[in-house]
Amino acid sequence: MSMGQLVPTTSARAAAARPRPAPSRAARRRQLRGRTVAPYLFIAPFLLVFVAFLFVPLAYAFRLSLYADRLVGGEVFVGLDNFRRAASDPAFWSGVRRMALFGLFQIPIMLGLSLIFAILLDAGVVHLRRLFRLVVFLPYAVPAVVAALMWGFLYGGTFGPFAQLADKLHVTAPQFLSSNWMLASIANIVTWEYVGYNMIIMVAALQAVPRELHEAAAIDGASEWQIARRIKIPLIAPALVLTSVFSIIGTLQLFNEPQIMTAIAPEVVGSSYTPNLYAYSLAFPFRQINYSAAISFVLGAVVFAGSYLFIFLTRRRRR
């Protein structure tokens, strides 16, 4: 593949061809030892941070989940009670179902849009390409707090711009912040934030598709659309799987956007609207840190299951 070769191979060959003195036995032994030790040393900083800020907190969270800290009675060992409770907790599972529904619609729409944009970019318009890539990617740079703030204002029922526009046109705008529409409204915010990010990944993958394949198909008389469907999309399947898996993980763990929405529409986005929001509510206002830890573990298990299921399903189809 042409993508990876960013170093002119001429200098490498030249370097290899240059005559040089043979290193001494001691020097070679030192070099060999250096080579075996090196990977561990290189990984060490990463591993240190990984252990300190992922592994240890996770282990601590697991310990927490085996206990209960009661207002009356203090800390008590409860074994797997918290997990048993989580397994049948309607607040948790309704949140999971809600996120599954959310993902079922939002992910294909967002990735579909990203794919369309990516293909359009790849197929044609030279002048605006840079601008378009930048503009569509910009929302990713906006903090979720600010994104939710902006959309919250835009969604306003009586005085928001959409409602006012609809009023002028004598149509009824949907009540974006009502319980019927809230999921879609949040889906819109998430799509807005990430469509550019996913588009860039796909554009990059498309660029790696060898030009010869397009050329051959074009010469054979295939239209752009056919080229896209038969050649490009199948060849960037790994990128599609990657973005899908990340989207699934992100959806099941949705927190930032609903959390801001609780400030704007608290009566719709309740304390267990998403599983992660439930874990947060349990830890903070409800002061049940231990149960919150158990819920987080169960959520993690759901995320694993969802991601691997998806990878498994797509792997079979690709083969």
Partner: protein, 295 residues
Amino acid sequence: MTLLTTGMRSGRNARRGGARTAPTLVLLAFLAYPLLPLFWLLVAATKSNEDLLSTFGLWFAGDNHLLTNIRDVFTYGDGVYLRWLTNTAYYSITSAVGAALIATLGGYAFAKYRFRGREVLFGVILGSIMVPATALVIPTYLLLSKATLTDTPLAVILPSLLSPFGLYLMRVYAEQSVPDELIDAARVDGAGEFQIFRRVAFRILTPGFVTVLLFQFVATWNNYFLPLVVLSTPEHYPVTVGLASWNSQAAAGGGAHVLFSVVVTGALIAIAPIVVAFVLLQRYWQGGLTVGSFR
């Protein structure tokens, strides 16, 4: 992208000149979607607080209050906003550089060396992406407080050094762009492993390094939950937590005097640096994200 590709593309386009207009129009229409809320933000920042609550959202009001609003943002609360901006810049740059460095080091090692347990370890690290953040924040807080690091910059920076996705990106990038022959040649020359990394590999890995740096920069800049929990003094807040606290004050009132106009203008100023950074560093992230998209 090599010169070869660019040349072929423009050649192909020359043949299909007429077909360009339809896609262009479609793309132009789609430009409105990302820009709409940002446009609203810009318009809103020019309004006074009263105008914000009474005029049409998507167009300007009578007079332009932008400069007054900006002045209010930087003077409210004894000028704490500027402190928030510098905090955010400090946290983001430090953790971005740190995260990119250790991800590059680690990714290079995974890519170019064989060692026992390599794939298992890599799988575990990747799997950690699936761990919900809420599970980690409180234990992280408790651990940081044992080390008496809470309410300090390190409380935000240290956890932000971890970028499993960055590690993955750098591994794939290193696998594809650093030729084994080059490393072997350097070894034959007698160079030590770290020298090879520093002098040879790192130069090649720079676009990937900058990509990871930029993404971790954005991630830390936008991080809300972690600083919310580990920081308690407003002087240490990053701008996300600060804005949110102003927003809830503006909403709750009851003696507080933060106005919505200050929150809105503060939000606009907060996203300006990242937008600028993205525009300036376009070349890197548009090129660097190419890896990781195929295996």
